[in-house]
Every structure is written in C-alpha cells, then in structure tokens.
Symmetry: C2
Subunit: 370 residues, 2 copies
Amino acid sequence: MRRSRLRQAGLLPSWMLLTGIATGADVEPIRSIAAQILVIGHRGASALRPEHTLASYAKAIEDGADFIEPDLVMTRDGVLVARHENEISGTTNVADHPEFAARRTAKTIDGTPMHGWFTEDFTLAELKTLRARERLPELRPANARFDGQFEVPTFDELVEFVAAQSTLRGRVVGIYAEIKHSTYFHAIGLPLEDRLIAAIRAHAHTRTAPLFLQSFEVGNLQYLRARLGGEAGHVKLIQLLGEHDERPFDSLGAPTPTYAAMMRPDGLRAVARYADAIGPNKLAVIPRLDDDRLGAPTSLVADAHAAGLLVHPYTFRPENFFLPAGEQAPGGPATRSDAGAIAEMRAYLDAGIDGLFSDDPALARRAVAR
Amino acid sequence: MRRSRLRQAGLLPSWMLLTGIATGADVEPIRSIAAQILVIGHRGASALRPEHTLASYAKAIEDGADFIEPDLVMTRDGVLVARHENEISGTTNVADHPEFAARRTAKTIDGTPMHGWFTEDFTLAELKTLRARERLPELRPANARFDGQFEVPTFDELVEFVAAQSTLRGRVVGIYAEIKHSTYFHAIGLPLEDRLIAAIRAHAHTRTAPLFLQSFEVGNLQYLRARLGGEAGHVKLIQLLGEHDERPFDSLGAPTPTYAAMMRPDGLRAVARYADAIGPNKLAVIPRLDDDRLGAPTSLVADAHAAGLLVHPYTFRPENFFLPAGEQAPGGPATRSDAGAIAEMRAYLDAGIDGLFSDDPALARRAVAR
C-alpha cells in the first residue's frame, strides 16, 4: 500500500498521507474500535436552534444525540456557563443593553486580539439579563426566530436539564463538555477546572453518567486525569487538536509539539497517557482535494486506534457552506443538503471514526444507523 | 329543583347544596365556559416523579399538561424557588446534611406551628447543595428511585425549561404558579410578588405565554392585578379557596369573609373584581357522601360561572388513598386506579369545571379527551 510505504519512509507526517484520490474501490473501509459510535450534539443541535441554549440541547436530545456538547467559560463571580467563547457579542444581545455599553473592551485571548464583551466581566446575575441570539443568522435564518427567548445556561442548569431528560426518556444522555481558554482563565484568577470538578461531584448525573471532557490544551487534561481518573471510570478525556502548525496554548514557549506532531504515532502515544480520545479537525481525517471534494483518508484514525485512542472529529454541518464539493445541494451557501451531509459523515464512518460532533444530530443518527 | 328552591330560601350556603344522592339521571351535566379545559400538571407530574423537580415538570409536559404548576417560596438571598412549602424536610435530603443541622428550627407559618428547615434560612447556593426526595414514599414508592437526583429548581430555571420544551414541541406550555405564604414572606422582609413581577418581565416566555398566578391570600392577587393587569392579557389570576371555616391569612383579624362566604354568589362577584378564576377544593364542587362516594355537585360552578369566574378545582390523584369509594381498584391505598381516577375527573367535568389540577396529567388528558 502506498500509504504504509510512504509512511515507513518517513517522507510525510502520517496525518497528511493520502491513500489516493479515490475513496472507494481499492481502499478497504476501516472499523471504529468503539463499542458504540457516538453522536455528539455540537453546541446542542446548533443547526436548528441558537447554540448553547437549553432549547438547543433539548433538540439534540430529541433528535437522538448520545451526548450534548456544552462549551464552558466563566463569569466574574466564578460560575461556569455555556458559551462557545468568553466574548459574547455574537451569541447574545449584550450590544443592545445600554447599561453594559461601558463593558465593551479589547483583550487578547490565547494570542488573538478581540473586541467585545467578555463573560469574565459579568456576574452571573448580569449575564442572566442577556438573551441568546443565533450566531450565524445568514446561514441559519430560521434559528433567528428564537433570538431573545433563551438565557445563557449555567453548567449546573444544563446538567439538571440533561438529567431530567434522561429520566424522562429512560435513556442516559451524556455530557461532553469543552473547557475553553484554560490558561487564560487561570491567568485572570478564574480557574475552570476546580469549579468543574466541584460541579461534577455535586450532581448525581455527572457522578454516574458518561461524561467526556475536552480541551485544546494539555496541562488541564493531565490535571483532570490525576483528579478524576481514579474516581470514576465514566469520565473520559479528549485531546482536541487544532491547526497543524499551532500548539496547545499552555505549551507556548515550551519545547512542546505542534498539533501536527501530536497527530503522529509517537505524539498519539504520548496523548494516550492522559486522554482517551482525540478530537481532530475532520480535515485531518479526510482532507479535501484542490477542487474541495473529499480526498482519501489519512492514517490518523489507524494511528490513533493503534495508540488506544478513540477519534471524534469536528464538525459535521448540513449547510452547503460547510459541505465538500460533490455533496452540496442546488441553492446557496445556506441551503441544506441532508443527503450530502449524510454521505459526508458516512465517508468518515468508513474511515473508522468513533463518534462525530454534529450540528444536526438527527442527520448524524441517520448516518450512523445505516 | 330542590337545589334552587333551598338556595332561594337561603337555608344553606349555596356551595353546600346537593342536588341529590345520584349524580346521573335527573341531573343535566353543565358545561365548562372555558374555550379549552385545562390540564394543570400539579407540582409537575407528581404522581410519577418527585414533585417540583425539572423531571416532574418534564414528565407533565410529555404527558400532555397544558400548564405546569410550580409553588413558589423564597431563599434567604431573595431567589424564588419551587417547593410546596418553605419547610423542606419532607421533599429534600436536608436532614442528611450535617452542616445544616443547626438550621433546624421551629416557626409558626400562617398560624401553624412547624419544625424543620426553612428555605428562607438558606442561600440559593446552600439550597442547591440539597437534592429532592419523594414526599410520599409509602404511596408512591416508585418515585423514591429518583431520590437524590434532582435539585430544587429556581423559578428562572423552570421558566427556561418550559420555554425550551415549548420550542421543542411547537406547543406553548403555560406556567400556573402559586405564591406561597405571601404575608409571612412579607413579614420577614422577602416579599415574593415584586420578585415575581421582575422575573416575569425578564423572560420572553412569561412575557408572552399563558401565565396563571394563584394564591390563597387576597391582597397579593389584588396587588398583582394592579401591576400586571394592563400589561399583559396573558396573565390570569386565580383565587384559591381553602376550608370553609378558614379565611385568607392576610385577612385574619379583619372583617373579611371566610372561604365559605367567598364561595357564595356575592362573595364570588367580589372575587371576580380582581381574579379570573377560582381554585376550590374539589370537595366544594362535588362533596363526598357519608360512605365516601361522590355526591351530587354543589352550585359552586354555576355560581362562579355566573360571576364570570372559571373553576379549577384541586387535586386529582390516581391512588386509591385519594379516590372516592366506588372508584378505587383492588389493592391497598398506594394502588393506582387509572379508570377510577378518570371516572372521578369525568364526574367533575360533567359538573362544568374549566380545568383540573392533576398529579398525573396523562390521566387528566384522557379524561378531558373523551
């Protein structure tokens, strides 16, 4: 096989290797090593509801997600809340609140300069006066009809919500939470991890139901492994992997590997010492060709499996804008292509992935159920 | 008709009048005056889940309740939370928390001496460390399997929960909240009504969806009518009515009527000046005979309708313990009699009621749907 020969020759990083242009014919589908391929409702069912609202999580559960995926940031008074970013102008109506006009500020978060309003400058009580808005109204105009209806949920609230839904449905729904900007929040005196550990211990659901914790950083996962590892086998840790030439933010300045290096076999074996799975960009599993069609899988899944790691790539979305060429539907970038989205996910399932982050869990459920 | 003749003669309070022993035959069923007969999930679906938990509210919504019914009390730091009583030893695990042992105390609430732990002695953060328990484990042993799983929800949390469920189901579920011990909470510096008004204004759901507010007191309903009446036609007020010889607690010492007097035609006309409906004990609508079988309806429904008031009696429960003779199933007091519970509710529907408080909304839905 060309892939293995090139790889043995060390000519290319293994995650960049392609088996060829075609995905079919001479390429044998490989198998997930998971007991069950997981459908992870990314920010809830964010293709259908404003992300990180109880309504979005509810829709994800209704639509068959095995896990709902909150991102966690912190308020000034140390409460974990669900937002994709600590900067909230894109997903709340904060700009419409004149009493908070003076809170607008500029910061550098993980090396990126940003302007806006930041959760760490608001108490929970203040944040609770805001209401969620659709982040992508151009691509998801139907979601904007829910603008102004929903609060920013706390982690405790969403745990109770998921627990109630699990009880109602007689089906345990897991939580797959991302710790955002760990080093940054430590630096400003709001460490997320200890709060999260306390919250996990405070709820029957998080003490017993499947709980996956993910981060683009490394040190915090190692910290959580040390503190939660022996306590409960139901807690799994996921190393998220970013752009090839980037490094985990907590490794900046240290002689630590890039994400590309972490995706090589020896890098994966190092990750496996503290994590249970990796969460790569889906393009690191199946890259796109020059014409934006799906290429052939890299060796990342096989290499991760060989290291004992599950692979949960991000993010599967149903709109043309996000789909590879060949899987789009007639229409504009906001047009959904359900069949195309399912076909894309099936190509990834054939590449052996063990779960998918999906903005539309009903489609992911269909892709997995074939 | 015997009923009207006796009533004209003023021999008996009209609500005590019976048309006879039999409910059928010579008695014409009267009709609800409501556009829709309401199924109110009493404390959620409290026959099936520990009362006043998100799981109980979720079950009520799943089972077809038009409204979920939270009772509201307050924490030391002024947060509205859902408990049937401010004394919480019966519905939480507070007694198992040694750090709160010293909070146990004796109080007199609305004239009733009580021992235990009281919400007004706990901050929300403290209350959130407790977990709900089934109040009636002997009658509802299956519910006790949920003990320890759920928090005491805040009003804000349950509003968001109901809003998310409404969005999910494409069906607007209303909130039918009871203000508990209004005078008592005022006396200790924790007035419920202003907090409630603020909370109503803070949520899209409570600003727009049907919202019913109920109390056994009078002054607070009049206060709410003055402040919410012009603002939103979606807010309805319900005068709850207690034992015949009791009075609203805020009327004690004043020359105000007993609940029995409030149920007479002139009393009802007075209630109609500030309220939209009454919530009487179901026995004031259909009393029980000496053998504990259902008697014939009183004139209360007709009198209330004549005054322009809807009638929502409490409480319909499916266990033998609560059912009239003739509607019980073989077994003990904890045995459910679904058919008997439905038959009981249908007798009340034939008496013209406009909604029911039910611990098992699925059964109430069936009774209403015939």
